[in-house]
């Protein structure tokens, strides 16, 4: 049953763009199709998560291929948010990218294709189908990023994305083929015990780290992510960032589930990479002044948190600490859902703000909260959630990881992996605090204060459908945050599917119960307090901002986002290397001076691109080979002939 529903959802999503391609007037049909597809698929996924595993297989005339899908707890767990976001994004796009706008059909078609294929990736049981769906997602995302390919920025973003993603795909080719070498089957079959120790197993894990790391945007493979998410239309960014990069996580989890135990070096690598990209991701995020780039870097941070959880799980499993492993996997998987929800919410609300203020520059917005209160509220909820604050969902998953970190120090002998796992706690603490700084800055500068540009000044609230698209996401954030115990069993099933050899994780629900209680208390009291204070000051007089007695404050006097970020950027200068233009005024009566600073992506702009340019320069020498003189060409012929004759005469 669930399999049929899921595949129906996939087909509906994939086909949803066709009406719009046919005629502009049919865009409503597209919206209906994709929302329906999302709903049906979501039901299917939830059924798959509650009920047992279901499968569906059709023949496929490709060597090794079979149109086989299998909806087990893990697939369902990953597919559910895909369908939810597909529906929400499709609804949002209906007004955000209206049929009258340029390339509307194009955007709708590729959006449907991407979301459908994405769900297919999560459910494919045949590795070649997995590979095909994977690549379809990659290519259609490329087209979506390149929607406005007249802009050089979009072009380069799309180009970097497609290159990185193709490298990942080729690594995935190797993974699939190696798996086939292990199991002599094109399905996801558990490997023989001890495969992790074999050389081929090592190769498999290294390739997995590269392929899935690139796709997930894990540091240092994140190079494609900020540009891509900034250039794509907002609802596309929401899906790409909310669930698209989870493809990599899914692949990683799926692969880990095939091993009985991975070398602890692999777990360590995951842990350290995760920690690095969570801290650096948020640090880079603070330094951005493009709202969507900022959110993109937060995706890197959250992927870091998720991968940290997986690292805990893998390490603990290898070293026989089931409780730790369960906590790690549970935290990671729950954060997959949470990040999907609040990051999509943030991108959609940010998209609405950009839609109304006609800019992505944070420092050109401001005061939108008074003009578009709903959007502001949505962004605020997303911000509280992503910062991991109680009583919303972000807190629950991070709490699980914290508990894992603390458990490792309380109940583990001297030495061992525990020493590494301890790092999780301070890392999460730093990440959380920085994320808070970042979103205080973002929310404050975009939605509070006074408008910094005329466009922001006459911004209007977005249409109802766009707001309606955010509602389910808000509900999700609130639900997981307030009644986490309800989701304990589902999470348990997913964890069991991810690590079949672990004892079934029944402890989760009991563990989450007190969180639920306190979350409800906090929410209740906090809301009551705020409301009563509002009631108290309903008839309060209003005046100018006092500002230490300065009578005529202007928008330009507000504290900018960049200056808010300056402190943290200074602390992380060793990694970020901010670029500062503009002279510093120095005389007593300083001349008019312009000051501008930005932070390039260290890995991409300072390491990778120079290397590539060098390689290209070297390859340039090969051109002398093709010199234009036919005599030389014939000489190559002769030389080849003589050489081969010599070889043959051996």
């Amino acid at each position: 049953m669930s399999a049929i529903l899921v595949i129906t959802g996939v087909v509906l999503c994939m086909a949803s763009g066709l009406p719009s391609l046919a005629t502009r007037r049919a865009s409503a049909a597209t919206t209906v199709l994709i929302v329906a597809g999302g709903a049906i698929g979501l039901i299917g996924a939830v059924l798959g998560l509650i009920g047992g595993t279901a499968g569906l297989s059709l023949p496929w005339h490709i060597p090794g291929g079979a149109l086989a899908i299998r909806v087990d707890a893990l697939s369902a767990f990953f597919a559910a948010p895909v369908f939810l976001l597909a529906g929400a994004g499709g609804l949002y796009a209906d007004r955000y990218w209206p049929a009258a706008r340029m390339r509307a059909g194009y955007v709708r078609a590729f959006f449907g294709l991407m979301t459908g294929a994405l769900a297919l990736v999560m459910c494919a049981a045949n590795t070649i189908l997995f590979l095909a769906a994977w690549e379809i997602v990659a290519v259609s995302s490329f087209f979506l990023i390149a929607t406005e390919h007249e802009l050089a920025e979009s072009r380069s973003a799309a180009w970097i994305y497609v290159t990185a993603s193709h490298v990942a795909t080729l690594a995935l080719f190797a993974i699939v083929v190696l798996l086939h070498g292990f199991t002599h089957s094109w399905a996801f079959v558990p490997l023989a015990p001890g495969s992790g120790a074999l050389p081929a197993g090592h190769a498999l894990l290294c390739l997995a780290f590269i392929a899935f790391g690139i796709k997930a945007g894990l540091m240092p493979f994140h190079i494609w992510l900020p540009g891509a998410h900034a250039a794509a239309p907002s609802h596309v960014s929401a899906v790409m960032s909310g669930v698209g990069i989870k493809m990599g996580v899914y692949g990683l989890v799926r692969l880990l589930s095939l091993f009985d135990a991975v070398p602890s070096a692999f777990g360590t690598t995951l842990l350290l990479a995760g920690i690095a990209s969570s801290i650096l991701g948020v640090a880079f995020a603070i330094a951005q002044h493009d709202l969507k780039r900022l959110l993109a870097y937060h995706s890197i941070e959250n992927i870091g948190i998720i991968v940290t959880g997986l690292g805990i799980g893998a390490l603990a499993q290898t070293h026989g600490q089931p409780l730790l492993a369960v906590l790690g996997y549970a935290g990671a998987l729950l954060h997959v859902w949470n990040h999907g929800l609040f990051k999509a919410l943030l991108f959609l609300s940010a998209g609405a703000a950009i839609h109304s203020a006609h800019t992505r520059e944070i420092d050109r917005m401001g005061g939108l909260g008074r003009r578009m209160p709903w959007t502001a509220a949505a962004f605020l909820i997303g911000a509280v959630a992503i910062t991991g604050l109680p009583p919303l969902n972000g807190f629950v998953s991070e709490w699980l990881l914290y508990v894992a970190g603390f458990t490792s120090i309380t109940c583990s002998p001297h030495g061992g992996p525990s020493l590494l796992l301890i790092l999780v706690v301070p890392a999460l603490a730093l990440t959380g605090a920085l994320a808070l700084a970042c979103f205080v800055k973002a929310f404050g500068t975009v939605f509070l204060g006074v408008p910094r540009s005329t466009a922001a000044a006459d911004a209007r609230e977005v249409p109802a459908t766009m707001r309606a698209a955010m509602a389910p996401l808000i509900l999700g954030c609130a639900a997981i945050g307030l009644v986490p115990a309800l989701f304990g069993p589902l999470l348990g099933r997913a964890v069991h599917a991810a690590a079949p050899r672990l004892p079934m994780a029944a402890t989760l629900t009991a563990l989450l119960q007190p969180i639920q209680t306190s979350a409800l208390i906090i929410a209740g009291i906090a809301i009551a307090a705020v409301l009563s204070l509002l009631a108290l000051t309903r008839r309060a007089a209003t005046a100018l901002t006092w500002d230490c007695g300065y009578a005529a404050p202007t928008a330009r006097m507000q504290y900018t986002a960049s200056s808010t970020a300056r402190g943290v950027v200074g602390l992380f200068g060793w990694a970020m290397r901010p670029v500062i233009h503009g002279p510093r005024p120095f005389t007593i009566f300083p001349f008019a001076a312009a000051f501008e600073s930005h932070v390039p992506d260290t890995v991409l702009d300072r390491a990778l691109l120079p290397v590539l340019r060098g390689a290209r320069w070297v390859l340039g020498f090969a051109r002398y080979f093709q010199h234009g003189r036919m005599q030389l060409y014939l000489l190559y012929l002769g030389v080849t002939l003589v050489a081969l004759l010599a070889w043959s005469a051996r």
Partner: protein, 299 residues
């Protein structure tokens, strides 16, 4: 029962702490100083006044003061102030404890930005940056305590009995030291900040409340008093041995908290505020001290 006792203790005695500190400073400076209960008078006056709001603000502006009061109260319910077990104790509550304060920080800073004032923006920038440095210190301390007590609930974590003092006295001293620094930073005391002046450009926390007035401002003052109480109580719990009796424990806690306030007073009167660039260094030092405690207990 203990819950009520605990709440009463916190709610009623919190403002007294401010009085104790000012009185200590006055005595050291050789003045008579304001009465001990001055804070109560101020609060009463502010609550009777009415509010003026900046025309740029939204509801977010008022969420700040509300949170500033709600959060310390909730946090206090996680601490075993009276009796062996806190009202809301559970496995892993220590994380909730820290994140509650993050919650209040989020809303107070956002509220400050709501005014669009340059000063308050500056205060926000500093607040969030320094908090990021203070939080690891808190967590390192908790890690070490978790290792010592073998539990993830503040109620067991903080009731340090004699033999663990015997076992890990050095670590515990380090933790207390580093947490005391965090306390000073979080409650905007000298040497990080100066609670007496609101007009200094080098303000951190205090500058964010410039635009609040009337009851809202009163709530902020009260909230900071509560916060001071909770942090002091946290340290006091580490230091104090426990008798099983709620009343006795409550009394002991109060005594210890007041003692800590005296120490704060002495610190404030003995040193000046640090230059802003030095503040991060001190906080990192606090984190390192706590981290060293972790290393000690892992050894």
């Amino acid at each position: 029962m203990t819950a009520v006792l605990q709440l009463l203790l916190v709610v009623l005695t919190a403002p007294l702490l401010l009085g104790v500190i000012t009185r200590t400073k006055a005595i050291v400076a050789g003045r008579s100083g304001p009465p001990l209960l001055q804070a109560y008078y101020d609060l009463g006056k502010l609550l009777r006044k009415d509010t003026v709001l900046s025309s740029t603000t939204t509801w977010v502006f008022l969420a700040g003061p509300a949170m500033a009061v709600v959060v310390p109260l909730l946090a206090s319910l996680l601490l075993p102030l009276a009796g062996p077990r806190a009202p809301l104790a559970f496995t892993g509550d220590l994380i909730l404890f820290v994140y509650l304060f993050a919650l209040s920080r989020f809303f107070t800073t956002v509220a400050a930005l709501d005014t669009g004032s340059a000063f308050e923006g500056m205060g926000v920038a500093r607040e969030v940056t320094f908090a990021a440095l203070a939080e690891p210190a808190l967590f390192f301390g908790l890690l070490a305590l978790a290792r010592i007590s073998g539990s993830l609930s503040l109620s067991q974590l903080l009731t340090v009995d004699g033999n663990s003092w015997h076992r890990a006295s050095a670590a515990l001293v380090l933790i207390i030291a580093s947490w005391f620094i965090v306390l000073l930073a979080e409650n905007s005391r000298v040497p990080f900040d100066d609670p007496n002046t609101h007009l200094e450009l080098t303000m951190i926390h205090e500058v964010m409340v410039l635009d609040h007035s009337g009851p809202a401002f009163g709530l902020i003052l009260y909230g900071s008093a509560l916060k001071l109480f909770v942090f002091s109580a946290l340290i006091a719990d580490v230091a104090l041995p426990r008798t099983g009796n709620p009343l006795a424990d409550a009394a002991a806690t109060l005594g210890a908290v007041l003692g800590i306030c005296v120490v704060i007073g002495l610190v404030e009167s003995s040193m000046a505020r640090l230059r802003l660039v030095r503040v991060p260094q001190l906080l990192v030092a606090a984190s390192l001290v706590a981290g060293f405690a972790v290393v000690l207990v892992l050894r």
